[in-house]
Symmetry: D3
Subunit: 184 residues, 6 copies
C-alpha cells in the first residue's frame, strides 16, 4: 500500500510476505551473478527461505531498527535495499543493496541509495551513513563513490566468502557532507 | 518514507515511533470529543503511552496481522485508521478509525476507509471487511453506510464504556459487493 | 481429579494431556460427520495433533482466558465444549462445542452449554455469552435457540470452509435475559 | 466450576484468579501461626502477591507439572494443597500443604492429602509420593505418619528459615505400599 | 581460557561448545560402563546431542544456577562434574559426576569433588552440599564417604532406570563439617 | 573458580554476580577518568546497574558470543576486558577494555589484550581481531600499536560522546600477522 516514488518508473516499497514469490524468483534468476559477492544466495533454496528473510525484516522494522525495501521498476521487482541496523545512540546507520541482472545499468541503485541516505539524514535525523564493499567489487563501490561518500579505510579480511577472505572498503558520509553535496 | 497518496492534500503513512509526539498531541487535543466513544483515550496520559501504542502496531505489522496508518492532511496528522487484525484463513479483516476535531467534515475518513477496503480486497485478496460501530455513534456509522456496506446485525451490549454497555452495529462488505459498487 | 457433575451420567472435566488418546479416538471416530462443519478435523492426523490442541488449551487456561472441557457420559468422552476466549474488559465471552456421533440426541450438549452459560454469568460474573453457528448447521443452531439466546444478526461469508464461504448466525444472551429465562 | 468432593462439607478446587481475595484473607488471618514454618507468608503483603502466586500455579498446570488446589470447607477457603512438581521420568512427585487457623483439627488435611496421593498413584499412575517436613513441625509430620508413609531419612539443614537452618524429615510412599494400606 | 588447576596433571574447565567432539567421544567410548547408572547415555546418539547438553549448561551458568566442568587429565578430557542447581535461599547445592573408563582409579573424581565442595562452601558461601547415589553404585558412593559426607537417608525408588526403580542414598556435608574435616 | 594466570600477580576471571560490589566500586572510584571516553560510566548509578551488566555478560557467554573478564592484580579487581561479540561466519571478533586509575602504568592491559588475542586466534581459531579507539584516546590506542596491530582506517564521527562526535581509529590483526609477531 505504502510506496516511495523515485521517478515515474521506479518506486521503493517495504518488503512484505506477499512479495516472497517475486523476490525468490529475482534471487534465483540472478543467482550466478549475485553469489559472487553475496554468500546468502546459496542458502536461498526455496521460497520458504525468502519468506524467512522477509519475516526477519518485518521483525527488524518492528524493533525500530531499520527496514528492507524492494526496488520496483516498471512494476517488476528489480532489487533490494535496506538498513543493516540503526545505531540511534551514535546517530549512525549502514546500507546494503543488490540488483537482479536485468536491472543493472539503469541507474536504479544510485537513485535508491540516494533516497535512503536522504531519508536517514533528513527524516531519521541521523548523522552518518556507512557503506561497505569488497575491495574487488567495483560495481558496488561505484555507488558510494558516485554519491560523494568518503573512503575511510580498508578492513582487512573482514569477510569469509566460500573459501577465502575478502577485504572491505569502508565508505562514510556525514550529514554535513551530504548538505554540501546536494547544494552543489 | 513510504506513503499512500489519497489526493493532493491527503496521504496515509504507517505509524512509526517518530510520530509519537504528533499523535499524542492530536489525541490530547481532541480528548473530550474522542473519549465519548473511545475509552482508550483516558489511558493516554503521556507520550510514553502513545509510544507503547505505536510499538504494538509495529509488532502487529511484523506478525503479518495488519497495521495502523496515520492520515496526514496538508502535512499534519489528522487521524488514525488501521486493521484490527487479519483472519487469513477466512480471508476477512475489520477496520477501526478516528479523526481529530479539526479534521472532521473534510471527507478524510471516507476516503481513507475506501483506500483501506480497496487495499484489503484488491491487494491482500481478502473477501470480507467488517466495521463495527456503537449504535448511537452516528458519525462512525455514516462511513460504512456511505461506502455501501451492508448492515448485518446488532450485537447487544458488546462493549463496556466507562459505566454502561453499548450495542454494536455490524457492517460487512464482500469482495463481490465492492466490485459492483465501484463499477456503478 | 476435578469435575463438574451435570447429572448422574454426565460430567465435565477440563481436558488434560492424559485425555489425548481418548479425544483423538473420538475425533477420528466421528470424522466424516464432524468435518462437515469443523475444518480442523482434517488437520487432526495423529494423537500428536490432539496433544498440541490440549496443550494449547492448558495455556489458554493459564492465561486466564477460559478453558476447554471434555463432556463425559457414562465414563466415556462424548464431546468437547469450551470458551473461545474471555473479554474481561467488556465482560463477554463466546462458546464452541461438538459431540461424537454416538452421543448425539441425548441432550448432552444443551445441558453442557447451559452449565457453561451459568458459570460465565453467575461465577465469572460476565454479562454476555455469544454463540455463532453456520446458517445451515441446524443442529448447532438448535442449542442457543433452545436456551433462549437472541438471534442478533448474520455475518455474511464469515468462514472459509474447504471450498466455499458460509454465513454465521450470531446468537447472544445477556445476564438479564438469563435470569429471566431461569426464573420461568 | 470443577471440583473434587471429599465429603459433604469439604471439596477441593484448582485455584484460579477469582480466589485471590479469599486466599489473601486466609493467609493474612493466620499469618502469625503460618509464618513459623512458611517463610513465604512474610512476602505476602498485598493481594497482588497472592495473584502472582495463583498465576504461577496456573502456569505450573499448563506445563503439565502438577497444580495447587484450594480446600473449601462449608463454602469457605480453608487451606491450600498442591504438587511441588511432577517428575514424569521417575514417576514421582511431592506434596505441600497448609491450613488456616480456624480449620485445624477437623481432619481436612489428612483427607486432602489422601485424595492427592490417590490421584497421583491411581490416576496419574505415578509410583512415589514424597512429603517433607521440618523435624520440629509436629503437625505437618503427623499427616504422612497417619497415612502410612515411611520415614526415609533426615536432610540436615535443608532449609534456611529467617535466621536459622532447619532439618527436614523425608517421608515417602510407594504405589505398592498404598495398595496394601488401602486394603487393610 | 579459564581453568582451575587441581594438580600438575589435572585441571577443571567449564565446558564450552568447542569441547563437544571430545566430550561426545568420551561418552561413547565408555558407553557400556556408564549406561549402567546413567540413563542419559543412551540418548547421546550424535555430537549434536552433546552440543545440546553443553548449550544447556551454558544457559545454567548464565542463570547463576551453577555450571558443569570438564575434568582434564594430561590434556585429555577424563570426565564431567557439575552442580545440579544452586538453591541460594537455603544456601544449598548438589553435585553430580562421571568418569570415562580410562580414567578410573587415578583419584581424579575425589579430588574434583573436593574442589567443588571447597568452591561451594568457601567461595559461594553455601552451607550444604548434597550427593545422591544409587544404593548399589559403590564407586559413586565411595566418593562422598571418602570425603566425610554424612549418610542422611535412603529415598526409596527415587529413580526409574530403564526397567526398574533404584533407591538413592542421600549424603550431605555442612559448612561446619567441612571445616572440621579439613583441620584434621 | 576458573582463572587464567597472566603472571604471578595478575590473573583473568570471567565476571560473575559475586563480583558486582567490587566492580561497582572500581567503576565509581575511577569515574572521573573513565567517563572521558566511556559514556556508560554515567549510567552506572548503583550496584544494581553493575549486576545488570554482569548478567548481560553471562547471557553473552551462554550464547557462545564471547565473554567479559575481570583483570585481578594482587587479588584486587583492576579492570575489565572482553569480546564485543564473535562473528563465527567471518572468523572475526573485536575487543574492548578499561582499567581503574590505580592500575594504570603496570602493563596490565597490554598483557591482558595479548592473552585475549592469543585465545581468539589460537584457541577459538578465529582469523581477525579488531580494536577501535577514539582518535584522541592515546592510552587506548597505545595497546594495539604496541602489540603490532595494523591501523586500517578512520571511521569519522563514529561515536556520539555526551555532546560531540568522535572519530574512531580501526586497528586489526590477522592470524598470520600474529604468528609472525610472536616469532620475532
Amino acid at each position: 500500500m505504502f510506496t516511495h516514488m523515485i521517478n515515474e518508473k521506479t518506486k521503493l516499497k517495504m518488503l512484505d510476505l506477499r512479495d516472497s514469490e517475486q523476490l525468490f524468483g529475482l534471487t534465483i534468476g540472478s543467482k550466478e551473478t549475485l553469489r559472487e559477492w553475496l554468500q546468502f544466495i546459496d542458502y536461498t533454496k526455496s521460497v520458504v527461505d525468502t519468506q524467512s528473510f522477509i519475516q526477519s525484516t518485518m521483525k527488524q522494522f518492528s524493533e525500530n531498527n531499520g527496514f528492507q525495501a524492494g526496488i520496483w521498476y516498471e512494476g517488476n521487482l528489480a532489487g533490494v535495499i535496506g538498513f543493516h541496523k540503526i545505531d540511534w545512540n551514535n546517530k549512525s546507520t549502514s546500507i546494503g543493496y543488490w540488483l537482479g541482472n536485468d536491472y543493472v545499468g539503469l541507474g536504479l541503485m544510485t537513485a535508491s541509495v540516494k533516497a535512503f541516505v536522504d531519508y536517514a539524514l533528513k527524516e531519521l535525523m541521523l548523522n552518518r551513513v556507512e557503506i561497505r564493499a569488497a575491495v574487488e567489487n567495483k560495481k558496488s563501490r561505484a555507488i558510494p563513490e558516485r554519491l560523494g561518500f568518503t573512503e575511510e579505510g580498508c578492513v582487512r579480511q573482514a569477510e569469509w566468502l566460500y573459501d577465502h577472505f575478502v577485504d572491505h572498503v569502508v565508505y562514510g558520509i556525514l550529514s554535513g557532507d551530504w548538505d554540501e553535496n546536494m547544494s552543489n
